[in-house]
Every structure is written in C-alpha cells, then in structure tokens.
C-alpha cells in the first residue's frame, strides 16, 4: 500500500473522525484566541453535524472496510447498523453538550469553553472507533480516546466533591480494566498471531493461551458495558458525574461497548447461548435488585442500565444460537431505544436538578411533574420507555429481544428474563410515584435557570422514543 494514498472506503470511514478532530482543534484554537461560547458551540455542532452526515452513505452500503492491513483484515469495518450506532453516538454527544452547557457555566464560573467542547467532540470519535474497530490497535485506541475525555468530563465539576470522586473512581477502575484488555489482547495475539477481530472468536482453537486471552478481553469489555459483577462503578460514576455527561456515558459508551463486545467477544464455542443467558440473567438480577431501593434517581437509572445490559445479553445468547443478522438488528434497535430513553431521562434530570439543588434524590424530586411539567412529561416517557411500555421504543426493543430468544429455542430463559424484568417495573413505577403522585417537596429558594436550549434538546430523544416505538422499521431493518 502506498503510504500517501487512501482509498475511497478509507476516506469514507475516516471522514467522521476528521470532522470531529478538526472541530475539536478549531474550538481549541478559537478559544485560545478569545472565548466566544456561541461560535464555539456552533463549530462543535457543525463538526458533529458534518460527522453525522458524512456517515450517512455508510447506511446504504452492505459493509465498508477501510485501512486494510497487508496480512489480511482491516483497521475499521462498518456495517449499516454500526454506522447508525455511530450517528447515534454523535447525536448523544451533541445532546450532552447542549444540555450541559448552562449548568456547567454556572458551576464552573463560566469556564467551560476550551476543554468542554473539545472533550465532547473527542468522545464520539472514540465511540466511532470502538464501534468500527476491526483491529486490536484501533479497538484499544478507540476505547482510550473514548475513556480519557470521559474521565475528565466526569470530574468536570471540580467544586463538587462527588464529581471529582466519580472521575477518580472511573479512572482507576477503567485503567485497571485497560490493563486486562491489553494483557488479554497480547495473549490472544500470542496464541493466534493475529490482531484482527476474527482472532478472538477463534482464539480457543489455538489452545489455552488464546482462551485465557479471550477471557481477559471479555472481562475488560464486560467492565466497559457494566455487566455484573463488573458493574459496581456504574452507580457511583453516573451519580457523581455532571448529569449530561452521565447521559453520554449511558447512551454512547454503552452502545459502543456493547457493539465492541459483539465483535470482540468470544465465539459460541467458548461462550454458548446458555452462558450468555446465564450471564444476562445474573446481570439482570443484580442490576434490578440493586436499583430497587435506590433513593437517588440517577443511581437508579444507572443500575437499571445494568439490567438493560442483562437483557442485551439475551440477544447475545440468541446470536450464539445462530441468529447473527437478527441479533445485530435487535441489538442496534435496543441500544438506540435504551440510549434515547437514557438521554431523555438524564437530560430531564439535569433540568430537575437545577431546581432541586443539584441532586436527584427522590426527596427533592417529589411532585416534580407539577412544578416542571415538561421535565415531568419527558421523564414519564423516558421511564416508560426504559420499562418497556408499548408505544415507546423500549417496548419493541424488549419485544425483539424476546422474539430472538424464543426463536433460538431459549424459551425458558425468556420466561426467566421477563420475570426478572418485572422487578424493573417496580422501581420505574416508584419513580413515577415520586414524580407524579406525591405532594411536592418544599421548594428550595433556588434561582431557576432558564434554559430553552436544553429544553428543546430534551424533546428530541423523547419524540424519537415515541416515533421509533410507533415506527421501528427504519431502525430495525438496518
């Protein structure tokens, strides 16, 4: 390969990365000249729009592989589903950016400019790489590009002890997991001599080394997707981070990590369908019961996210039983449905917190729907979607998963799954009780932040949750 010429596919795959990186650099330059928040936001939005638009051609192509490696394989490989997830991640970042802006400005005395937008732009870049990575180098770098800005974003509200604590916890455990990932990759490579994504699935064939390597990689990825028992960081980090950042973690990181797990996870001969189902049930069980008694809505949503991972593992189980294509469409739909609801929920909580005094404690959110009808309504839709109530995307997402399970002959697991899901209804319903049915908490005299931008941003995932719930075809048929 001529080092200075790139193929069309290479450009296609590199385009969103270039858009994002360029926007990040431009923001940095602009800010260093003179901080102009409106312009910077415009540039960031432009970069993300450009990235998103540049990915649309990928939706129409069967499969796009770029940056081919001489020995076979490629650095990046995108499918329509992965492209859609990538677009979603960019959108999630944009959402997080625009909902966070005003709150951060108030907290950090207006110092949000430089770092903030650059970090927000780099996150989706890492997500896209993680999603599309077809080579261990791309995967590892993608995960790091995704994680490093997030560690910082989590700790962004430096005046807030919780935020800093969240940052350090996330960082330490993330680095620990990175160690596992690196060592795992190395062992897989030692076993197979291959760094491509195909190496992991067949690692066991090369003997114990590959097996252990695949296992260590699996562990690292399970940490990233927050599956039990590697989920313990989630609640603390989600709770402590600025809420829009939490939204980005929940929607974007989860999507990227789950997709990575699908491509980089061990094959069915290593983890059979029942293994995934067992892992899913365990995660569902732990996530749901952990969330059950939470007095803080953010923690509750964080742990419910764990439970959602459990349900996604059921789709993995169906895939292990042979339904590859269906599993991809199911997982894609599920991730977007969950992500939209999570964005809406956390975004709404951000607005609620600005009034309740900075936390999502249930005590402070009592009767919220009456004080802030828009926030209440958005949360209602989001919670119902997370719970999986019809007319929201959340329902069809669960429906598709269970269809795949039954189709794969995992009916008993499906029954266990639905019964475990029931627990999740208990806490979603209780959250609705808090928001709608209890008398409002005594109002704290907090000056309300008027934030039309965030409010408008909130409507997007909310509306999409319902639109995809009513019309799943465009997403599900990818």
């Amino acid at each position: 390969m001529d080092p200075y010429s790139l193929s069309a596919a290479d450009w296609l795959l590199a385009a969103p990365l270039l858009w994002l990186a360029a926007a990040a650099l431009l923001v940095l330059v602009l800010d260093s000249v003179r901080p102009t928040p409106r312009l910077e936001a415009g540039v960031a939005l432009g970069g993300m729009l450009g990235a998103a638009l540049s990915m649309t051609p990928l939706l129409g192509r069967e499969e796009t592989a770029g940056f081919l490696v001489a020995g076979g394989g490629s650095m990046l490989r995108a499918t329509p589903a992965l492209a859609a997830l990538a677009i979603f991640c960019v959108g999630a970042a944009a959402f997080a950016g625009f909902t966070a802006l005003r709150g951060l400005c108030r907290h950090e005395g207006g110092r949000h400019g430089t770092a903030f937008w650059a970090l927000v732009l780099l996150c989706p870049m890492g997500m896209i790489l993680t999603l599309w990575a077809d080579h261990m180098a791309a995967l590892f770098l993608g995960i790091e590009i995704l994680s490093l800005p997030l560690y910082v974003l989590a700790a962004l509200r430096r005046a807030d002890a919780g935020s800093v604590e969240a940052g350090i916890k996330y960082f330490l455990l993330g680095a620990f997991a990175s160690g596992f990932l690196a060592f795992g990759m190395a062992l897989v490579y030692a076993g197979t001599g291959d760094l491509g994504s195909g190496a992991v699935a067949t690692a066991a064939e090369s003997g114990g080394i590959g097996l252990v390597g695949a296992g260590l990689m699996l562990i690292a990825l399970l940490f990233k997707v927050a599956a039990a028992p590697f989920h313990l960081w989630v609640a603390d980090v989600y709770q402590g981070s600025p809420t829009p950042v939490t939204a980005l973690m929940a929607a974007g990181t989860k999507a990227a990590a789950i997709a990575a797990l699908m491509r980089w996870g061990p094959g069915p001969e290593m983890v059979p369908a029942s293994g995934w189902a067992l892992l899913g049930s365990l995660t569902l069980l732990v996530g749901n019961f952990s969330a059950l008694n939470q007095g803080n809505l953010k923690r509750m949503l964080a742990l419910s996210g764990v439970a959602h991972v459990g349900i996604l593992f059921y789709a993995f189980a169906a895939r292990a039983a042979g339904a590859e294509a269906e599993a991809w469409s199911t997982v894609t739909y599920y991730l977007v449905a969950y992500g939209l609801a999570a964005l809406a929920a956390f975004g709404a909580l951000e607005l609620a917190e600005r009034r309740s005094g900075g936390t999502s404690d249930e005590e402070l959110l009592r009767g919220l729907a009456r004080r802030q009808p828009l926030v209440g309504g958005v949360l209602c839709v989001a919670l119902l979607s997370l719970a999986g109530v019809p007319f929201t995307a959340g329902f069809l997402a669960k429906y598709f998963v269970f269809v795949e399970m039954v189709r794969a002959g995992l009916t008993v697991w499906a029954l266990i799954g639905v019964l475990l899901t029931l627990v999740s209804f208990a806490y979603y319903l209780r959250a609705l009780v808090t928001l709608f049915m209890l008398e409002p908490a005594r109002e704290k005299p907090t000056a309300v932040l008027q934030d039309a931008l965030a409010a408008a941003a909130l409507l997007v995932p909310t509306a999409l949750s319902i639109v995809f719930g009513l019309w799943p075809e465009p997403l599900h048929a990818l």
Partner: protein
C-alpha cells in the same frame, strides 16, 4: 287459541306499580320541599292500585269464560311477544298460556288480590309509604300473574323470583325496624335456597334430555320417557326443593313465620293466599312429570309432616299472626299431602278454599290489630267480640272453615285430601293419621285463637286502647271473603258436585291417572266414614280449644307453667331457628372468617411477602455498593477469576 289480550292481565299490575311508584317519588320530592302530603292523593293511589288488579280480574273471568266455551281437551289460550332468551338449543319466549288450571289461579290471585287492595286502602291509611305500598303490591300481583300464566319454566321462574322480591320488599316494608328488614332478608335467602333447587332441577330436565323448558313440553317428555328416569327423579327432587322454599315446607318453612313482620294485608295476600301456593301450582302444573318421576311419596310425607309439625307450633303461639302463619304452613302441608297422593285437583281445591278463608282470617286479624292499635299478643286481647262485631263474625266464619267444621269450604277440601290419602298407595293410614292429627290440632288452635281474642274479659287497659271497628273499606272485603269461605265448598262436595275437579280434569287427569292408577281405590263407605270422623274432629277440637282457653289468664299462665316441658318447645317452634343457627349459619360464618383470614394472611400475605423479599434482596445487593473503589476492584478480580476458571473448565478440550 291466540289471545294477545292476555298480556293485559299481567301487564296492567306492572303499569299500576309504575304509576304508583312515580306518585311516590312525587310525594317524596314534595316532602323534601317541605310540602305536607295531600290526603286526597291516597284515594287516587288506592283506586289505581285496585283497578290495576280488578281489571285483570275481569279479564281473568273473561279468559275463564272463553275457556269454558271451548272443547274440554282444547282449552288453551296463548299469547306470545317473541323471544326472551335464545341461545343455542335453548329458546324461551315471552309467552303466556292459560288452561283450566291456571285460569283458576288467575281468578284467585286477581280476585283475592283485588279484595286485599280494597282492604289495604283502609288499613294503610295515613302511612307515609302509602304509595310505595301500593306500588309493591301491584308489582307483586304482576309477578304472581307472570308466575301463574307463563308457559315455560323460565318464565315461571321469573315470576317465582319476582314474587320473592316483592315479598322481600313488603316484609321489610317498615324498613326502619331492623328486625323487619332481617325478616325480609331471611325470607329472600331461604327462598333463594329453594331457587337453587329450582335451577338445578331445570338444568337436569333440559339436559337430561327433555331439551325444552316449556311446561307442556316437559310433561310430554316425561310421559314419553325421553328423560332418563334417574335424572328425572333427581330433577323432580330439586324442583321440589324449590317448592319447599316457596311454599314453606320442611325444611325451608322457617321464613314464613318471620314474614309476618310485613303489613297484615301482605300476609294475607302473599303469605297465605297466593305466593306460598306457587309450589303447589308448580307440582300440579308439572303433574305428569312429578307423577312419572316417582317422588310423589316424598312429597306426601313432607307435606304430612309439615302439616302436623306446624300445627303443633301453632298451638302455642301468642302472636295472633304467628298462629295464622303456622297454620298456613300446616295447610300448605295438606296441599302437598294431596299432591303427594296424586290428588291434584283436591290439592288445588284446598288451595282455593284456603286462599279464601286464610285471607279472611289474616284480614280479620289485621282488623283486630288495627282495632288494638297494633298489638298482636293474644294474651293482651280478649272480649273483643262485642266491640268489633263485624270482624268477629267474619273471622268466626273463617275459623270454622279452617277448623274443618262441616259444610264450610275447608271441611270439604281438607277431607277430600285426607280421604284420598287414606285411599292412596303410600302408607295410607300413616299419612291419614298424621293428617287427621294435624286437623285436630288445627281445630284446637283455631278455637284457642277465637277464645283468646274475642271471648273472655278484656286483658288490656281500655283507657289506653280505644277499640273501634274498622272502616268499611276493610270490612267489606271481610264480608265478601266470608261468603266465599262458606261457598267455596261448592267447588267440590262429595257425591254431589265436583265442578272444580271436572274443570281441571283435562289438565291433571293424566297425572292423576299415573299417580293413582286409573281406578279410585277408596270406597264410598270409607269416604263417608272419614267425612264423619273429620267433621267430628273439627268440631271437637274447636270446642275444646274454645273452652280450654276461655278462662282467666292467670289460671292459663299457671297451667302453662305446669306444662313447661311441652309448651316451651312449642312456643319456640321446636327451636328449629336456633338449630339452623348452630348447625348451618354458625359454621358458615366460621368458614367466612376462615376465608377472610386466609385471604389476608396467606394469599395476600404471600404477595406482600414476595414484595418484601424482593426489597430485602435489593437492600442486600445495594449494600455491595459500599462506595469503596477497592472493594469494587476486589469484586472485579473475583469476577475475573471466576469467569476465567469457568472459561478454562468449559473451554479446554
């Protein structure tokens, strides 16, 4: 023959009920607005109420006449209004069918009913619920007519439960008194037990395999043998259970004495003359079916037992209405005895005469109570003979008829039943002796009633109670009924005339033939002998009763104390209510409490325990999130080690 106008007979009372109900609503509204009742309004209501029954009476006469104009075997008038319930093979219409049997009952119901309406106009005067009362009474007559005139078991059941409802409403008419409401409820519930039997009986007949609920169809199916004999027997027993409820037979008679809580005209109409005879009507109506089923002996024995048993209780009651109530139970027992020995027309005969004289007695009792300012205890009466002469005279006639004094209606009807019992197939002499014993007791308590009420010295404070004769609206019906009580015998005088039997022959002939065989067993000699015995017992008992209880109450009291052992059970109706309470109701209440506890602690307890367990698990799992990063890392390591081990064990070939 199609006769759509028959519907007028049943619908007019309903119309009257509706109009009176609306008038009642108007009065209530006026009262709410503070306007006093319009006294003139009562007359209007009475007129509407009475006409709503009197016109059907006239129409019933017309129907009777029409029937008479036909061939004996073709005597049938029908009227249909289309389907009521049609589902699958079940098809029941809104249809009436009048034949000789129910034409008689139509006459009795509307005739006696009209008289009682007239009587009520006076009796209920000044009651705040005057209009409501007439509305209920009209409704009752309508339901009773539906019962009698309907051509299907289901239509009959509509009336059957309908009259039960009206009975409920009227017994509890003075609802402010909780006991009266309880009595009403008891009546309804006991009847519902019977209705349960009725329903099951109907189901058994239809599915086993009569395939119809038409009354004539059922009879035909029974005689054609379409119905499996075992099923038929069971079905007939269940239906008879229904009859026991409605017609107050052992074991379901307990509601009737309590039903005396209602206004006295109601007792006369519903609980003596009409509703309680519905059971007799049903057995007679389905005569062939019952005859084929082979349960007639059961009916006879139950009837005879009831006749004797209730009479003993009647002997010791102090409440004038209670005496009459037990008397009614007893007399209904006679009718069932008659039916049980296949004497269908005799039973109907007794039904008719009983309607006359018992209505008369009740209305007379009502007049007495009216005169005594609503005192009903006979021990507080006495010497009323001269003070309310009309009442006394008419009641005397009724009492004589009840006691079976020769030549009065009750004498003939009762003795016909006794004779047929004695000449029947089932334990003839036992049944006869039971019946005769009952008759003797009847005469005795009738005499006692007369003695305590009308004879001797007044045992009440005359300064307080101003005894007065009732108004004409009340006495005229008494007089009419007195005449009927005397003349009723003309419907069937042995050896002389049997107009009723002849009239009923086309309907009950086949059933009688099946039940008793073609030929009559009894000889004329026997019949005459029994007539004489019956008459003698009647007169003797009456005289005994009159003399025995005419003395002064103090001596009476002493005598009663001496007979405590016999008297107490009698006065307390053999403690049957108490026994039911202990054997049936108390366990049922216990079961209820058990279920309630089970529901709360076991079923709901399990649900809440599941929720609690979930929450407890949640609390435990939540504690794992201790906030310590090192512990999270430890869990990470633990998970990693375990997962790798499983991987290794599962993955290494």
């Amino acid at each position: 023959m199609e006769a759509p106008w028959l519907w007028l007979i049943t619908l007019l009372p309903f119309l009257g009920a509706a109009v009176n109900g609306l008038l009642h609503a108007r009065v209530l509204l006026a009262r709410a607005a503070g306007v006093a009742d319009d006294p003139a309004g009562e007359r209007l209501v009475a007129w509407i109420g009475t006409l709503a029954v009197a016109v059907p009476f006239a129409l019933s006469v017309l129907a009777f006449v029409r029937l008479q104009g036909m061939e004996p075997d073709a005597r049938l008038l029908t009227a249909s209004l289309g389907d009521w319930i049609h589902s699958g093979t079940l098809r029941v219409g809104w249809a009436l069918a009048i034949d000789p049997l129910n034409s008689v009952l139509l006459l009795v119901v509307t005739g006696v009913g009209a008289l009682i309406h007239v009587y009520s106009a006076g009796y209920m005067h000044g009651d705040p619920g005057y209009r409501r009362y007439f509305a209920y009474l009209n409704l009752f007559v309508g339901m009773m007519l539906m019962l009698v005139a309907s051509d299907s078991l289901l239509g009959l059941f509509l009336g059957w439960e309908g009259v039960g409802l009206c009975s409920y409403l009227l017994i509890g008419f003075w609802y402010a008194d909780g006991e009266k409401s309880d009595a009403a409820r008891k009546a309804f519930l006991v009847n519902r037990i019977g209705d349960f039997g009725f329903l099951i009986g109907g189901f058994l007949l239809f599915w086993g395999d009569a395939g119809t609920l038409q009354l004539d169809g059922l009879n035909a199916a029974a005689s054609a043998g379409t119905i499996d004999p075992g099923t038929l027997r069971l079905a007939a027993l269940f239906l008879f259970l229904g009859c026991c409820g409605k017609s107050a037979q052992i074991p379901l008679y307990v509601w009737l004495p309590d039903a005396m809580a209602g206004p006295t005209p109601v007792s006369a109409l519903i609980h003596a003359a009409t509703m309680v005879t519905a059971g007799i009507y049903l057995v007679a109506r389905l005569g062939v079916l019952f005859a084929v089923s082979g349960i007639l002996p059961v009916i006879a024995i139950v009837g005879a037992l009831t006749a004797l048993f209730a009479a003993t209780i009647g002997l010791a009651q102090r409440d004038i209405k209670k005496v009459l109530a037990y008397s009614t139970v007893s007399q209904l027992g006679y009718m069932f005895l008659g039916l049980g020995v296949g004497a269908y027309s005799a039973a109907v005969f007794h039904l008719v005469t009983h309607a006359f004289f018992k209505a008369l007695l009740f209305l007379g009792a009502g007049s007495v109570i009216h005169a005594m300012h609503h005192r009903q205890d006979m021990l507080e009466m006495g010497g009323l003979r001269s003070r309310i002469p009309t009442t006394y005279r008419t009641m005397l006639v009724g009492a004589l008829a009840l006691a079976g004094v020769p030549l009065l209606s009750g004498f003939f009807s009762k003795d016909e039943i006794l004779f047929l019992a004695a000449s029947g197939d089932t334990a003839p002499w036992l049944l006869y002796l039971m019946g005769l014993g009952g008759a003797a007791l009847t005469a005795v308590y009738t005499g006692r009633l007369l003695a305590l009420t009308f004879f001797g010295k007044p045992r009440f404070d005359e300064a307080e109670v101003h005894v007065h004769e009732s108004p004409r609206s009340m006495t005229v019906p008494l007089q009419v009924l007195a005449v009927l009580s005397v003349a009723g015998g003309l419907l069937g005088i042995p050896f002389v005339m049997h107009p009723l039997a002849t009239w009923l022959e086309p309907v009950v002939g086949e059933a009688t033939a099946i039940a008793r065989g073609a030929e009559h067993h009894g000889s004329h000699a026997l019949e005459i002998a029994l007539l004489i015995v019956g008459g003698a017992v009647g007169i003797g008992g009456l005289v005994f009763g009159l003399r025995r209880w005419q003395g002064d109450p103090a001596a009476e009291k002493a005598r009663m104390d001496r007979l405590e052992g016999i008297w107490r059970p009698l006065a307390n109706a053999w403690f049957v209510d108490q026994a039911y309470e202990r054997v049936l109701l108390a366990p049922l209440r216990g079961l209820r409490a058990l279920c309630a506890g089970f529901d709360v602690f076991v079923i709901d307890g399990a649900v809440n325990a599941a929720a609690g367990a979930g929450r407890a698990i949640g609390e435990r799992v939540r504690k794992v999130q201790s906030g310590a990063t090192s512990e999270y890392a430890l869990w990470f390591g633990l998970g990693a080690a375990l997962l790798l081990l499983i991987f290794w064990i599962g993955g290494t070939p």
